[in-house]
């Protein structure tokens, strides 16, 4: 990373491809800041707009604010300053009991998959529907469809421990998509995977993005970011220091 301080404060927000065509905004942060109760400033004056259908990489060193950025989007933390709008909802004004509805508009996957080890592949995906009150018919219809999409229709009765890391991440992705979310957030989805498997997961995310879902992927994987040439948001010390379309992992100018 070769970022200078003077560049940090004066970032011109990049306009994504979809925004240029006038698509609806799914994520918008306006002077958003998060200061934790212990006084740590995790995010500072972040301004960003992500239109529907974008594919965005979120990069930055550990402690740069990526995790807080994601927690902010799913309203695990509230902005202590500024405004954040996700899927048409103002998160500051959103009432507590409306939070579950927001989260159904956001799918999220993690580096450690977070599957339930005692449940089969089918049950892991079905669980996300079951706990939101879906009918059995809906579960029987949607789960096979999603497992088909991620290429796991052969493994429905397997337990997570019987699957490879890449397959487990596919289950997690299928689960994240059960409510047909507007946004899929992937927090280091390839962090535990070998390079070949990582590429397979990226291919799957691209495929999902092509179906219309906005994808935000936090990653340290330079190779992938550089090869993909998608929009890159770079965080450093809680500030958004770069927002560039079709960019590389590090600043190139």
């Amino acid at each position: 990373m070769s970022l200078t301080l003077e560049s940090a404060g004066t970032v011109e927000p990049a306009i994504g491809a979809a925004a240029r065509t006038g698509a609806e905004t799914v994520i918008s942060m306006l002077d958003a800041g998060v200061t934790y109760p212990n006084g740590k400033v995790a995010l500072n004056d972040v301004n960003v707009t992500i239109p529907r259908g974008d594919f965005v990489f979120l990069v930055g060193a550990s402690g740069a604010g990526k995790t807080t950025f994601i927690r902010l989007l799913i309203r695990e933390v509230l902005p202590t300053s500024g405004r954040v709008t996700v899927a048409g909802r103002d998160l500051v004004r959103l009432r507590r009991r409306e939070v579950p509805r927001l989260r159904r508009r956001i799918g999220i996957v993690f580096q450690d998959f977070r599957l339930l080890p005692a449940k089969t592949v089918f049950e892991n995906v079905a669980f996300a529907l079951e706990v939101t009150g879906a009918s059995r018919g809906e579960i029987r219809r949607r789960v096979p469809m999603l497992l088909n999409l991620v290429g796991l229709h052969q493994h429905t009765e397997h337990l997570p421990t019987q699957l490879s890391g890449g397959e487990q991440q596919r289950v997690a992705i299928a689960r994240a998509l059960v409510h047909d979310p507007a946004i899929l957030i992937a927090d280091e989805p390839t962090g535990n995977l070998d390079p070949v498997t990582s590429w397979e997961i990226i291919q799957l995310l691209i495929q999902i993005n092509a179906l219309g879902t906005t994808v935000l992927m936090a990653t340290h994987n330079q190779e992938i970011v550089n090869a993909m040439r998608r929009r890159v948001l770079a965080l450093e010390g809680g500030m958004l220091v770069r927002d560039e379309p079709e960019a590389a992992y590090e600043r190139e100018y």
Binding site: I74, R101, R103, T132
Partner: protein, 302 residues
């Protein structure tokens, strides 16, 4: 339909949760049983004593001993009739019975006989004469004092005795038993509450991963919380059912005691087991719901 699915989901999860940590759940249920058995014992004893008390109170009357020889001349029949008529006219008086000195002596002999003894007055038997008296039964024990006051002003009356002292003593005993019992049950109840809070806390921790995923995929608070509340209620209700079973088993030997010793009215007695069962179910349900609610409030903060 969505509501039924929610109930079904919560009930299944509560049942799974109960057996997932079976040792803890069963230990908690056992403390619920202990508490409810204590409560049943207290309920039975208090109900019995109360019935006994009511029976005694219904029999409580006022006995007025009348003047007579050798200190005074015996009352003449007109005097006696006038006194009885006066007493009958007092408010709250149900009936008035004259007991002659001879009848009084016969009763005394009966009392001795019932104890297996013979009343032996020796040589002086011929000189001993008991007071004649009138026995007043009351339509309600609350008139005892006014009737006593009215009779004690009459010259024909030497002394008045009532069973009020015995009643007061019994009321005192009942109050002591009730207080001691309620204190004991409250202490056991607090232990039970603590056990339920702890059981549900462990259940919440055991499901920490699931709860996290439920939150992330947008499960509402009720889907996250109610299974735990139901699990606590399950502990309480299971405990109540076991306690009811135990009471039902000992009901046959207890029943005659209630009816014969404590003179419980049959109308109350026939409903007794049902009333007690409803009480146990309500208390079991309540303590289970309260304990798990406290636990969910404390350990499942959003």
């Amino acid at each position: 339909m969505p509501f039924l699915r929610f109930i079904g989901f919560s009930a299944v999860r509560a049942w799974q949760g109960f057996w997932r940590n079976a040792m803890m759940s069963l230990a908690t249920t056992a403390t619920v049983v202990l508490m409810l058995v204590l409560l049943s014992g207290l309920f039975i004893v208090i109900s019995g004593l109360n019935s006994g008390l009511q029976f005694i109170e219904s029999k409580v009357g006022v006995t007025a001993e009348l003047v007579g020889e050798p200190q005074h001349p015996d009352l003449t029949q007109p005097q006696l009739d006038a006194l009885i008529a006066y007493t009958r006219a007092l408010p709250g008086v149900d009936s008035v019975t004259y007991v002659s000195p001879q009848e009084a002596m016969d009763r005394l002999r009966e009392v001795y006989k019932s104890r297996g003894q013979e009343l032996d007055l020796g040589e002086s038997a011929g000189n001993i004469k008991l007071y004649a008296s009138i026995e007043v039964s009351l339509s309600d024990p609350k008139y005892g004092q006014s009737v006593t006051d009215a009779l004690s002003q009459r010259d024909e009356v030497v002394q008045i005795t009532t069973k009020q002292a015995a009643v007061d003593k019994l009321v005192g005993i009942i109050n002591v038993i009730r207080t001691v019992g309620l204190v004991a049950i409250t202490l056991v109840g607090l232990t039970v509450l603590f056990m339920i809070v702890n059981t549900i806390r462990i259940a919440v921790y055991a499901r920490a991963n699931e709860i996290e995923i439920m939150r992330l995929v947008g499960a509402s608070d009720s889907f996250i919380r109610w299974p735990f509340i139901l699990e606590g209620i399950l502990c309480g209700l299971l405990g109540a059912l076991v306690a009811i079973g135990m009471v039902a088993i000992v009901w046959d030997p207890i029943q005659p005691v209630l009816f014969n010793v404590f003179q419980m009215p049959v109308a109350v007695g026939s409903r007794f087991l049902a009333t007690l069962s409803a009480l146990l179910l309500a208390v079991g349900f309540g303590v289970g719901a309260l304990g798990s609610w406290i636990s969910v409030r404390s350990y499942l903060t959003a």
